[in-house]
Subunit: 312 residues, 2 copies
């Protein structure tokens, strides 16, 4: 588990390569939710999501020998693009194993940042098989999207910035998928304010984190039939114990609730967020009694959406 | 013509009722344009556009007797919504004459802010006829969308804020339609920095301002067949002489250039702007030699878009 010192070090290390993103508020959504909402806009982040934080923190700690062997990862998109950018910044090369149903926008984003794509089938087994073969063939170095303390420490810098700007938050809501962002958020937030409550938000259609927490050990996703293309991954063995120890709850939301929340963010806030970001607002609007009257930080994790294929 | 003092007074008057909107920049669009771009985000403004500035400045100067008679206007949407909000803030009632092809989003926006809608045909003559009848029937007070010094002074506060934040801009580009925003921008900007250049940007499909400037007197629109539903109005007799005296040029852009620019703003900046805002970036990308190497402010006038009917 990364210490708060690891997160502070990560922040110093990555600062020249990331944006310190805005925190926005919106009177109309405050009124609707009955809470005071503070949106941490990682959709405005470099490469379009928070993933650049963990990727940069990891890549900057690789040796030159590791970099020269080439970097590989498996990613539904945002980690792949971020890693490609972080590796390109050091002059290296990245190969990304990507499910063949990834939105075109995320494919373009990997390629624009210098990454090369190798396709796999959407199922987790295919992803792992193709990745394993690639590692064996090339001798390249794997940078996992979330099952890595360096990644978790990097992702924790988003909540660190949010609390530096608004230390009086009562609660933070973060999306959860593989668990890198939520575990990093927990490591930052609970250190900076021991009284703060931190919740994960997850699609009901990919609710492995929710069920894993209930049963106390990692459960597989039964479906990944969600519009949130960034939240289909399986929770990781390194983030899970952190989440299990520290989280105050995981809230699951339906596809309809996610799409409604996404539409509200677009229409009221005039900002573009991807469905995976919208689970946070969907959770706040669903479990109103938890959040009413509170100051709530919501991590809008990314803004990479295929504008030709919107859900409404 | 409003003096700079009028604009300063307007700013003090309206400050409690408006947002001081962010100024954003974007590395990718800087690279693409060869200029350093500063986007004044009036899409984040109350009621979704800069129009609240002029409307509030005007409504706050009405007498109680005028307010009691009721307020009317004709508007393709943003002025109608803004005026409805400004009048509601004072406890009055607004009726908005609206073309029956107005995007649903803008209709909803008027109604949400307490305005009542009376429909007309899209043509300018129908709009004027319905408005005239309404004024005669009700004895209400007209607040024109742009042909009014109080409106112009209010709209000028957007450029005032932009230059307060970035006094070293070489140029500003503003959309032009009726001319309220452009003339207000000219009155602010040329006073705050006499060396600054200010350009209007206009759809080629509604190029009355461009042709009026060339011929030295007001010309009618020959078509209003543009996606920019906020830029179909006829340039006003009060803004026009200000524009004629002070503007450094008007740049016309095609529908394709507008849609491309809008897509770039959405994709790269992750913010939602309406087509009428996008003429500014389209103009900068079209006449590159004018802007290259310069610091350029672009006024993103609004963000009210029908998300069910996007142009791509």
């Amino acid at each position: 588990m990364p210490s708060f010192k690891d997160i502070q070090d990560a922040h110093e290390r990555i600062r020249p390569f990331i944006h310190r993103t805005s925190v926005l508020s919106n009177a109309s959504l405050n009124k609707l939710s009955g809470a005071e909402l503070f949106f941490k806009c990682e959709n405005f982040q470099k490469a379009g999501s928070f993933k650049i934080r963990g990727a940069t923190n990891t890549v900057l700690q690789l040796t030159q020998e590791e970099l020269d062997r080439g970097i590989v990862t498996a990613s539904s998109g945002n980690h792949g693009a971020a890693l490609s950018m972080a590796v390109s910044n050091r002059g290296g090369k990245t190969t990304v194993v990507m499910p063949n149903n990834t939105p075109k926008m995320k494919v373009d984003n990997v390629e624009r940042n210098g990454g090369k794509i190798v396709w796999c089938e959407p199922a987790q087994e295919s992803r792992e098989k193709v990745l394993k073969e690639l590692l064996a063939e090339t001798g390249a170095v794997l940078v996992h999207p979330y099952n890595d303390d360096r990644i978790i420490a990097g992702q924790g810098t988003a909540a660190k910035e949010l609390l530096e700007d608004h230390l009086d938050l009562d609660m933070i809501v973060s999306p959860v998928s593989g668990g890198g962002l939520l575990s990093g958020t927990l490591c930052s937030a609970k250190e900076m304010n021991p009284d703060i409550k931190v919740y994960g938000a997850e699609p009901a259609e990919a609710d492995d984190a929710y069920r894993s927490l209930q049963l106390g050990e990692i459960q597989a996703n039964e479906t990944t039939n969600t519009i949130c293309d960034g939240l289909r991954a399986q929770i990781g063995t390194i983030p899970f114990p952190i989440i299990k120890e520290k989280v105050d709850g995981i809230i699951t939301v339906s596809e309809e609730e996610i799409i409604d929340a996404m539409g509200m963010i677009w229409e009221r806030m005039k900002i573009i967020v991807e469905p995976s970001s919208s689970v946070t607002l969907a959770a706040v609007l669903k479990d109103k009694e938890v959040f009413t009257g509170k100051k709530v930080g919501l991590i809008l994790s990314g803004g990479n959406v295929d504008l030709d294929h919107l859900p409404w």
